[in-house]
């Protein structure tokens, strides 16, 4: 059944609201009369009972990590431990105004300072800003630091190198940072083609953005050589932390030679994705870039007995209205403390173990794009299946929904045809991996016997396949745009 919209449930003068009884006298409106609206905003008018039923039913029409596996490549949809929800609900953290004088927010300042320390130790960097509220924001922040660095040295390079396998955020951020995105192709091994890189890089190169492991789930073995090329022209190396879940405690971007790193806390450090956000994308830098960080930074001036805000000397300026998604940051720190030094490494090791095991397990079902050992995710292709049965990667993804799993990422990275990009994460058990593999096998087997049936999937979901073209042709983005 369709769920009515909240507006369709609305009845004039019905209500949910329960406002504090006013003790303040009604004040004169005459001074602002010319601004006063004539009609109230047409918000819905529903009872709390109907409100709760509506959004409870909507929730029941949504898949989530808490319901089952989410092997969505490049998204790191791991389980989010529940105690962090309690951290996020602590009154002394949530009911604090961001513009309170430091003396009254020592807890928050200490917390943020501690998280900065964890982020720096994990990435091998010197100092960090916690302001960027998401990965893409972190990228742009990092690139603006790159720009400020070059400007400080009187240089104006114009290009940033990006591998062809990169996430779309990378080139988009490069553009917004005022640079031109230059693509370096992958070699047949799925890694950056070092020779091609050498050809591309020159004095006009501001830097490089790399994800390592890359979006194919492969570790760039020649990372030091790659970064040497960049550094040789005074370029800076930006590490996109989207895939950090593969290597925490095992290898550090700083040790690889990166200068700027962002980390998606909502991926690696298990803060929940919230249906698309909020996230958090702290940016950490080497010592000689620390002066460019957005401010303010939480710092102790007396060895840790009290904390205050400090502005970096040559800051690029603030990138968030306040200090970033503070409560998300708290959750991430809680997760880091929970796992501890060894646990963080084990987390990554098991993420990589799961990916390799599942890759091997389905190697007969789909073509594995690259044969070398993968990191936390891997890419297979449904090209053969498509040729033989007409069932595409997208159809496999949809069919998997009927089996009770979320779909993998499809058609990304662009360098693999009919790509299925699978990231099981460390929180799924071997039994779950086996169940996913069996479900994929069954889909492929069904495709060979009755492709039409597979093309008609999913059938057991709240709705079936949608007419996306209709949605785009004449967009209906609000209740009022509907005819």
């Amino acid at each position: 059944a369709e769920e009515p919209t909240i507006f369709e449930l609305s009845v004039p003068t019905r209500r949910s609201f329960s406002l504090r009884n006013s003790e303040v006298p009604s004040m004169d409106l005459s001074e602002i009369q010319s601004w006063v609206r004539e009609e109230a905003v047409e918000l819905p008018e529903v009872s709390e009972r109907d409100l709760v039923a509506h959004y409870t039913r909507l929730a029941s029409r949504n898949y989530s990590v808490d319901l089952g596996a989410y092997p969505l490549g490049s998204c790191t949809m791991k389980y989010n431990p529940k105690f962090a929800d309690q951290v996020a609900a602590i009154d002394g953290l949530t009911n604090v105004h961001p513009l309170t004088p430091p003396e009254a927010i020592q807890g928050w300042l200490r917390l943020l300072n501690e998280l900065e320390h964890y982020v720096c130790e994990i990435t091998g960097m010197a100092q960090a800003t916690l302001q960027p509220p998401a990965g893409a924001s972190g990228e742009l922040t990092g690139l603006l630091i790159m720009r400020a660095y070059h400007t400080s040295r009187g240089r104006k390079p114009t290009k940033v190198v990006i591998p062809d396998s990169a996430h779309g955020t990378n080139p988009a951020s490069v553009s917004l940072a005022g640079y031109e995105a230059i693509t370096v192709p992958s070699g047949p091994d799925g890694l950056v083609d070092l020779a091609k890189l050498r050809e591309l890089v020159d004095e006009d190169t501001a830097g490089i953005m790399l994800t390592n492991p890359n979006t194919l789930g492969l570790f760039e073995r020649e990372i030091r050589e790659i970064l040497d090329v960049i550094h040789s022209v005074d370029g800076l190396a930006y590490y996109d932390g989207a895939n950090l879940n593969a290597i925490v405690g095992v290898a550090r971007p700083g040790d690889m030679g990166f200068d700027i790193v962002h980390s998606n806390l909502h991926k690696t450090f298990a803060t929940p994705h919230g249906g698309g956000g909020p996230g958090a994308g702290p940016v950490a830098v080497v010592e000689h870039l620390a002066d460019f960080l957005p401010g303010p930074l939480p710092r102790s001036l007396d060895g840790g007995s009290s904390y205050t805000w400090v502005a970096p000397r040559r800051s690029i300026g603030r990138v968030h209205a306040f200090y970033g998604n503070a409560v998300v940051l708290a959750r991430a720190l809680a997760f880091m403390q929970y796992l501890g030094s060894d646990g963080l490494r084990t987390m990554s090791e098991l993420a990589v173990l799961n990916a390799n095991w599942l890759k091997a397990r389905i190697a007969d079902t789909f073509e594995v794009a690259f044969q070398q050992p993968c990191m936390h995710e891997f890419v297979v292709s449904a090209e053969r299946l498509k040729a033989e049965t007409g069932v595409r990667a997208l159809d496999v993804a949809k069919a998997l929904l009927d089996a009770g799993f979320h779909s993998p990422t499809v058609y990304f990275p662009l360098v693999v045809h009919e790509a299925l990009m699978i990231e099981p994460t460390e929180t799924e058990s071997p039994q779950t991996l086996e169940a996913i593999a069996q479900a994929l096998e069954e889909i492929v087997a069904s495709a060979r016997t009755d492709a039409e049936a597979v093309l008609a999937m999913p059938r057991n979901t709240p709705v079936r396949r949608l007419d996306e073209a209709m949605a785009a042709r004449k967009p209906i983005l609000t209740e009022d745009q509907r005819q």
């Binding site: 602002i32 073995r221 095992v250 956000g277 929970y338 050992p373």
Partner: protein, 443 residues
């Protein structure tokens, strides 16, 4: 083994055997050995969940500035409103909290429909036909609006009122270095409203005129003047609007704004020390293909059932890459859903009443402060206003903390002023006590 991952020792052995490996280290054989750490991270060892919780409870106790112990008159972009229990409950359902971006709409109708409803509410609130599914915060929304205006007008000059939140202006300047913005400022009058004649008078053409409604200091701006300036500059008018004010004031869209942005924290989201908050973004329909961020649209499924899907995705970075309208991927979906639920809980009449309570509270405080000689710069304000202090406002604020009051916000670089906000959460008793304490301190 930490309790986080499910693997037993035995299973790890078996999986490694299946892979022909003998240790977990071997998984990293593709990493040059010089890069593989042999030392553990220099971080503390693991803690139990209860110990972590206790640690964070201590962090919480070290913040004296919580509502139960400090009566706050701080605003400046973050407001101490009462939250509805229903929105808190419904927004914390794991089906929303632990879902990913709704890329598979067949199993994401919950998030998608909730966002469609959110878009509708924001559009109605701002008086414009379309809205997106959220951006990071008010500042980010402003930056994206300017980028959109630049994309539309092909101009890089933007004219910003000094009444716009200084943090937002700073963020705009930060990101403007990448987009080569030329930012000009409009001064304020003595009554804290924008002097729209204070910019350069050559009308050289601009991407946008930006004004806040009400502004940072509390003044309700004359949007028709802003519109006139925008017209003369052939610029878009971008209004940074306070959503709660629109329960009482006419919407910027009906007053001529082309793009309206704002911070949605007031709509049922906890203060949270500044985040996660909620960037609101609405625009005229003609800009739809230039919009930043995710858009949810209505469509039908195979069986003809109404359903919802992210649409016009070709604007987005994962498809259009360097030519995308924005680099935004993650947004603030959960906050958008929570705000939508809170707005529905308030409803048409509750929202109106709430705005009125805020107005009444702020004007009551203003009238009481006038009695002790602290006269607001303007009388055209909504829930926030500015007074000049006699001496350092920072010092005064510090002394007021000892009385249990957060005495508003000191504007950056203006240490003789306090910006004071009053929400429906402030009782008359609290306001009166605040005035009494302030009177004592000023005596």
């Amino acid at each position: 083994m930490p309790s986080f991952a499910p693997h037993t020792e035995e299973e790890i052995e078996q999986m490694l055997t299946d892979l022909g490996m003998s240790s977990l280290e071997e998984l990293y054989a593709s990493i040059p050995s010089a890069l593989v750490r042999t030392e553990p991270l220099s971080l503390p060892s693991d803690l139990s969940e209860i110990e972590v919780l206790e640690q964070f409870s201590r962090f919480g106790r070290d913040n004296s500035a919580v509502r139960s112990s400090l009566v706050s008159f701080a605003g400046a972009g973050a407001y101490d409103h009462d939250l509805s229990a229903a929105a808190r409950h419904l927004g914390s359902q794991s089906a929303f909290v632990t879902a990913y971006t709704p890329y598979q709409p067949e199993v994401a109708q919950g998030v998608l429909q909730a966002l469609f409803e959110f878009q509708t509410m924001v559009a109605r609130l701002f008086g414009l036909p379309i809205a997106n599914a959220s951006l990071y915060d008010g500042a980010a929304s402003l930056v994206e609006a300017v980028n959109m205006a630049v994309g539309f007008t092909k101009q890089r000059r933007v004219i910003v009122s000094n009444g716009v939140n200084p943090s937002y202006r700073e963020a705009l300047a930060t990101f403007g270095t990448g987009t080569h913005l030329e930012i000009e400022h409009l001064d304020l009058e003595a009554d804290d409203s924008t002097n729209f004649g204070s910019g350069s008078a050559d009308h050289a053409g601009a991407a946008a005129v930006i004004v806040a409604y009400p502004n940072y200091f509390g003044a309700i701006e004359h949007l028709e003047e802003a519109r006139a300036l925008a017209d003369s500059e052939r610029a878009l008018l971008i209004v940074v609007a306070d959503p709660i004010a629109l329960g009482l004031l006419r919407s910027p869209g009906t007053l001529g704004a082309d793009i309206v942005v704002g911070e949605g924290q007031s709509l049922g989201i906890p203060l949270s020390f500044g985040g996660p908050y909620l960037g609101l973004f609405a625009a005229r329909a003609e800009y739809v293909r230039l919009m930043p961020g995710r858009l949810v649209g209505e469509t039908r499924d195979l069986e003809g059932r109404r359903s919802f899907v992210t649409t016009l995705r070709t604007r987005e970075q994962d498809i259009r890459r360097e030519k995308a309208t924005s680099n935004v991927c993650t947004n603030q979906t959960l906050m958008a859903i929570q705000a939508a639920i809170h707005m529905a809980w308030l409803g048409k009449r509750g929202f109106q009443l709430l705005a009125r309570r805020n107005y009444d509270g702020a004007h009551y405080l203003a009238s009481r402060l006038s009695e002790i000689g602290l006269v607001p710069s303007t009388r055209n304000f909504f829930r926030e206003f500015t007074v000049r202090t006699f001496g350092s406002a920072t010092d005064l604020q510090h002394r007021m903390l000892q009385h249990g009051f957060l005495a508003g916000v000191v504007p950056p670089g203006l240490d003789d002023r306090l910006v004071l906000a009053v929400t429906e959460a402030r009782t008359r008793t609290e306001i009166d006590s605040f005035v009494d304490s302030l009177a004592k301190e000023l005596r």
